[in-house]
Symmetry: C2
DNA sequence: CTGAAAGCGCTTACAG
DNA sequence: CTGAAAGCGCTTACAG
């Protein structure tokens, strides 16, 4: 049996502040102070202690420390699933901002299951995270006044179950962004414009649809219910919805999709029919995921500044923790940005 | 000034086991036992204590608990960046498996910076995570025999800096998978096959290239150095590399790319030249990211079972923590799977 | 079945 | 500048 490097793990205690104190022949208080850079300790002592700590591979215990300081320098992030590119980008921004402020992030997935969402939030509370960010929450409103919210600030990112009471949030301005995209299509000369929404009852879908309708109204274009179809936020749903739209006697010349994934499906559906984008029909999406740039044709879409939204959520949490604006809830609305690529063009036939 | 729900956070202590003990008129030991379901406590007492805990919104402190149990039920995961779809899928698998075993995951990004990688690992050690998973590590070998490895088991996922000494790992079988993809192209009748690799010195690139060459050799096809180009693992690099390949007097009829992102760029380059895939040239990728299915044409590629690899890493960690196989290092090699879609076909011109 | 006591590894007044 | 003491919120032998 060869000697294993792993056995220590089983048999020994990690070196603590006391071990170092013994070696350095000082009290453990002094070690604690030296290690945290207290100005009370003489530079020589500090230096000596630090060297010993370094040599013995000492790592201060975050648990012990946070037990007395009652903060963990940790923020909890709950996403529906990290496999969603939107969530991944947001978390990327969160992780970056957190890292800048010396916070760690605990990641948890709700898998779109409200019960699991409550459960992971509970676990985060037990871990005494200093703050929580929840993206695309379906139970957003229920955090208001909850035990959770009482002890740890919660920031909702693109909350899908609105309520303005005692909830902090960072949201994309769905209505305006959606109107902007629709105006783009109108500006190109389209009059027969369809909307492919979601079917899961997300607030963001409702708001984007409202923005779409508002733009139509403003341009004096009559809204046609038969130009609305519903996908599921994913390509297959978008394709099915597009198929339905294409089956109409007088199909739309342009389609605005709830999100890029839906648009990807719409593109595929159109291509399958032997039609061409944007020659036969224009398609616009929402999100500006990475794929939008590499779809064929590259997708015109509304960009959500995902990473920035992640930063904003962290900054908000940190301001909250610092006690700033503790008296009112902060609701940040960030504007979308229209990114025009090659999937939109004037309609072939004039009216 | 309206009353704020947030003030408690500032002024009060969370309710502890002692508070509950006082209300229930028992000792805090009893509360502790009741809450952890000890069979020592009478069912009635347990029930009563639990109700009180529930009503007062009690959350047991993970920090205090792990201080005495010396385990945190947490695993640390370090990725280069979570915005990488590969990492996102892997982390999704990790999070799922961890959740099944009641572990939380702390996510940290190295941003491909070895120094930051070491720093976040250090932070994870301070948090006393029970185990660490590092994906696509550039400094993998240096964990062998390190202080870290001594105290907490580290599993490397697709380690990019090989070393078999005292390192646990889960890896895709690059060589075989790559040979398989190349054989697919050869089987279609291609003889002029190019390889677009990476330029960052990843071991996975080297191995995939080796597999490519081995397949060529085996088929008796002469290897041509001018049929090798280097991208950067992303579409722009793939496009540039493809451009170079296309500029040759006798361009290849098929291209095998280091990964899907590179292939995406290759597709774009080919399309830009007015050529068509697979009619004029076949393209194959590696990874089977979500986009592979929705590229135009859908991409033939080698699937890495990303989520499963995440699970495997967690299972490995848990077996390690249970003391199983503590004596030797576990190195799991998972096979890739060829996914044939529409980007590969027999060459137009016969030889 | 229940309680008193010790201790996990730190930080931080309080004294000197 | 340094140390002794108390305490953060738990768990777990040890005694009864």
């Amino acid at each position: 049996m060869k000697p294993s490097v792993f056995c220590k793990r089983v048999h020994m205690r990690r070196t603590s502040i006391k071990d170092i104190a013994r070696i350095a022949e000082v009290s453990h208080s002094t070690v604690s102070r030296a290690l945290s850079g207290s100005p009370l300790i003489s530079p020589e002592t500090t230096e000596r202690i630090r060297r010993i700590a370094e040599e013995s591979g000492y790592r201060r215990s975050a648990a012990a420390r946070s037990l007395v300081t009652s903060r963990t320098a940790t923020i909890g992030v709950v996403v529906t699933t990290i496999a969603d590119p939107f969530a991944a980008e947001v978390v990327n921004g969160i992780e970056d901002a957190a890292n800048d402020h010396d916070y760690s992030v605990i990641l948890a997935s709700s898998n779109v299951d409200p019960e699991r969402e409550m459960r992971v939030v509970r676990a985060l509370e037990e871990r005494r995270v200093d703050g929580i960010i929840v993206t695309s929450s379906r139970v957003g409103a229920s955090y208001a006044g909850s035990f959770s919210q009482k002890w740890v600030p919660i920031v909702l990112l693109n909350n899908q179950h609105h309520s303005n009471e005692f909830i902090h949030s960072v949201m994309i301005d769905n209505h305006s962004a959606s109107a902007m995209a629709t105006q783009h299509l109108i500006g190109l000369g389209h009059r027969r414009i369809a909307y492919i929404g979601d079917r899961n009852g997300y607030d963001s879908d409702t708001e984007r649809f409202d923005g779409f309708r508002a733009a139509l109204d403003q341009a004096g274009i009559e809204f046609r219910p038969d130009y609305v179809a519903h996908g599921n936020g994913k390509p297959d749903g978008g394709a099915a919805a597009m198929n339905a739209l294409l089956a109409a006697s007088r199909p739309p010349t342009a389609v605005f999709c709830y999100n890029d994934m839906t648009a990807l499906g719409a593109l595929r559906s159109i291509r399958t029919r032997g039609l061409s984008v944007p020659a036969d029909i224009s398609v616009a999406g929402f999100d500006d995921l990475f794929v939008a740039e590499y779809s064929v044709p590259p997708l015109t879409t509304v960009r959500q500044p995902m990473r920035e939204m992640g930063w904003l959520a962290v900054e908000t949490l940190i301001r909250l923790l610092a006690g700033v604006e503790a008296e009112h809830n902060v609701n940040i609305k960030v504007p979308g940005e229209l990114v025009v690529r090659e999937s939109t063009a004037p309609p072939k036939e004039s009216l």
